[in-house]
Symmetry: C2
Subunit: 366 residues, 2 copies
């Protein structure tokens, strides 16, 4: 039987047909003039979406691999660091740092809220001037929250020379971020969310200040070692075999983003986010996030509804993939993404199915 | 202008049309029943090609990422280890271990020769009983050499309890390897060579003996941490967003390999290797490898021919990608692959172009 899949998940997101078509093209060898051109286009596209004139890098791996690369390239044994988290992905910074034997100060906001600048300032001051890097999350899809990364970065800059490292894996290309203007030293992103490509590539923007630290950092790193990626850039290649097909597809996705204009994509995402939030409230449901991001809406479910069962019902009965809650939110929320190539029609289908299933569950509940 | 590309490079290799078609299909979400089934098929396919009943893992990254994962999962600070190398990729084991602060004993065979078992035995004995792991290369594409991994593993087993770790990134699926029967504790592979998929996935087989070590190992690892991959296996998923499209394509490639029968694929590759070697000698050229592998032929060029220029000429004038020499072999050899979906027709085109270019260069040379 034919089955249509509607993806309302925070990565992988649906691909534009043009990007899919690129994925189906024969593989180029990566040491060719043709790939060199593609690679340079990918780098230019990354600079465009990161809003940077600095270095941008591309590695084969998931978004988490980009986060780990940031930690491994920036920190050295014994370094003080601060993580300001508002959910699962913020907490991941701390987990990674701990895996490397570090003990970052951990500032965790109540889930559903954004990192509050004044509280953040006090934590930063308490952590002291020795903090080498502050790790932030732009949009944490576990709670559907966006942090004011610009303001947090400004506070860090007032306080010390600590590097500002931002996970914008789900945010980049979907809602405003300005690596250079906001003074973000490292921003990590991935292919499969707002950047409308299949999963498998991680990206990073790296400031000159960050390179000075990276050049001397002493955590173990080989495949992650950004110095070797930087050295390969002038040759239009990566140090290890790149995911050639994904690079070609990413260039196509960047073409589409440039064609629309990045600012217009931000607006489109915001409009769809506002639409989704209104529609969710129209169903009598409440929003989980007090500071909602534009890339995903976290929906609080009525107490008697099992979120895991709801996710399964939408997937099995309607072919619609939404996300459930993670960790302590498991079963309590569902999450509907609206970044990248997700359209209002997709959101409408997801919400219509949610409405039906809630109505069907209601008699049993009461 | 239309341009046909012939890939005779040791990864990426050309893709069968069925595999390409899978890459062009819409992306599934990875937390669905459908992806769970695909994932399980991929795991079954891996067990088939690794010839193991043990654990197999799949991670998003290049082949080198799989090598690094092996080092980071198996060793602990201060561990003694031995690398037996016969080229660039063997040496990479040592580079990775050194990046983690280890100082493995390094046994390097003269390039072009396979690791010689009796010399290896003496090195192993000199390294002592404390050696925790021995790192080998099945087929080193930098020199076109195959090592007798079965015999080397047997020697290790006679000597001590050291784990046997094999890089079969270019060999797996193309020439015989038996993870269980040969007692190989960890074998690392990648998608883009004999396994006929696009680049972006790394694979590993892991023995029960290896897990006992991995569970207690103390090098830093997060994204690489195979314990989290093992924990996700029963749910039919990976701990981080998998490269969904590449997994679907890999399942299709495994279907083709199973349809042909793995042993028949080995024979086909061997026959094409023998054909290529005879044809190269027919051109009056000599083979670089004294113990040639089946996956690639390293061709020694006449002294006056610049290998780099030859690679460029074939690529620019004929659309044919062959590989040049690496590191100290740069300019001195060219390398013609014949693994995976590479056909005799492709090799014929490559050799015909090589012949023409050699003839064209000859008057200038003489």
């Amino acid at each position: 039987m034919m089955k249509r899949f509607v993806l309302l998940t925070p990565g992988p997101t649906p691909l534009p047909p043009e990007v899919l078509a690129k994925l189906g093209e024969p593989i180029l060898h990566h040491r060719t003039h043709e790939f060199g051109e593609l690679f340079r286009d990918a780098i230019e596209g990354l600079k465009y979406v990161f809003r940077t004139k600095g270095t941008v890098l591309l590695q084969c791996g998931s978004g988490t691999s980009g986060m780990e690369a940031a930690v491994a390239n920036i920190l050295s044994p014994g370094d003080a660091a601060l993580v300001a988290s508002c959910g699962v992905f913020g907490n991941r910074w701390t987990k990674i740092a701990k895996a490397y034997g570090l003990a970052p100060a951990h500032h965790e906001e109540e889930w559903g809220r954004a990192v509050e600048p004044e509280k953040f300032r006090r934590t930063l001051e308490a952590a002291g001037k020795d903090v080498k890097a502050v790790f932030l999350t732009h949009t944490d899809t576990s709670t559907g929250v966006a942090c004011d990364v610009r303001e947090l970065a400004r506070i860090v800059r007032e306080h010390s020379d600590a590097l500002v490292v931002v996970d914008s894996i789900s945010g980049l290309g979907a809602q405003p971020l300005e690596a250079d203007e906001w003074g973000l030293d490292v921003v990590v992103a991935a292919s499969q969310k707002g950047l409308m490509n299949a999963p498998g590539l991680a990206f990073a923007s790296v400031s000159e200040r960050a390179w000075k630290v990276i050049d001397k950092a002493r955590l173990p790193r080989f495949y992650w070692d950004w110095r070797t990626y930087r050295a390969s850039l002038p040759n239009g290649e990566t140090p290890y075999t790149p995911a050639v097909g994904l690079v070609a597809a990413q260039v196509e996705a960047f073409r589409l983003i440039r064609e629309a204009g990045l600012e217009n994509v931000w607006v489109r995402t915001r409009v769809l986010a506002e639409y989704t939030r209104r529609a969710v409230e129209g169903l009598g449901l409440s929003l989980f996030a007090k500071a909602p991001c534009d890339v995903l809406t976290a929906v609080q479910l009525p107490k008697d509804i099992d979120g895991e069962a709801m996710v399964k019902a939408l997937r099995d009965r309607y072919g619609i993939s939404i996300a459930g809650g993670q960790e302590k939110l498991k079963g309590r929320i569902v999450r509907i993404a609206h970044m990248g190539a997700i359209l209002q029609e997709d959101v409408d289908q997801g919400l219509a199915a949610l409405k039906k299933e809630l109505a069907a569950a209601a008699p049993a509940v009461k």
